[in-house]
Subunit: 207 residues, 2 copies
Amino acid sequence: MPQQHRAHATRRAILTAAAEEFDRAGYSATPLSAILRRSGVTKGAFYFHFPSKEALATALIGAQEAVWPELRERWAGRGCDPLQTLIGFVGDVVERIATDAVVRAGVRLSCEGGAIDAGLPSPYPLWERALHEMLDGAAGAGLLREGVQPASAARVLNAALVGARVVSCALNRCADVVERTRELWPVLLQGVAAEEWLHDWEDAAVR
Amino acid sequence: MPQQHRAHATRRAILTAAAEEFDRAGYSATPLSAILRRSGVTKGAFYFHFPSKEALATALIGAQEAVWPELRERWAGRGCDPLQTLIGFVGDVVERIATDAVVRAGVRLSCEGGAIDAGLPSPYPLWERALHEMLDGAAGAGLLREGVQPASAARVLNAALVGARVVSCALNRCADVVERTRELWPVLLQGVAAEEWLHDWEDAAVR
């Protein structure tokens, strides 16, 4: 294996081991030794890639941050209406959280303010802004219920999505986050979407 | 001050100081010395009340657990319909979280699985069950929208309420949790409540 590939594989092995250990016991309770043991990497190799456990957490947060724009662009290119795009994008996000331990650990670390002291900003304003943009698009296309304010609806949607992930991750390490998220839509959309859009969406769900 | 009262006051001072420090820096990052300094209590007096920082966390969790049945009973005795009771009870819960640092710290600790290793169960199934019971009452009184399943609606409401608290606590130590929770209802109730009930509720809000 060429040296660069080997370095990349080592880095990936460390991130995966860290994600799995943090998933199991939480960031604070996980000693570096457990991550080394699980990754099969020497201390020397570890410190070549990461100066500290905190640097590892920052790398995990960065790894999940890199995933979302890609998913969002993919959905933007599909020609769905803004609400279908929002629902499809969110579906892909939670699917990824359920199946990818590195992404899951990164999301959890980015949300748990106390876990690391790296001065990283909370992701919530970012998520609210992304939802707000998508709902602005839906408002422009006449897809929102009368009287619904996109900024307020974005905060409500974000709260429900954050809560579904938090509860699912606490109860079963996010194993049922896809189902818990899917269950939100019939309730949330009733309060957010225009009646005509809802009829089409319910028809499509029955088919 | 009689000895028993003094012991109670000391215990309360320690819990309040711990709650404030955990609020500021998180459980893991808070050393016992910071709690002692803030409470003005000697090490000896501290250990008379609590054997460890973990015992302190368990006491804070117990303190918030004791609050909810009392609030729920108060609302049950008011003769409101089941949905009004649910909304009123939740309003009192978040009001308490916003204004009482001891309760706020206890809720946060009970939710953050990784924070303490005391093997305490997650509170989410309990909250879902409480909401489920109230929604069963609403279903029995014919107040739910056609097709709404109380168990599913309870999970959705719980997710939204948990998320509003988590986001608010991360962004401003729960200062706006009352507003963020209030903002959920118009969206959530549209998906959960029967149309007739909604009309009455919206009329009452306008008045």
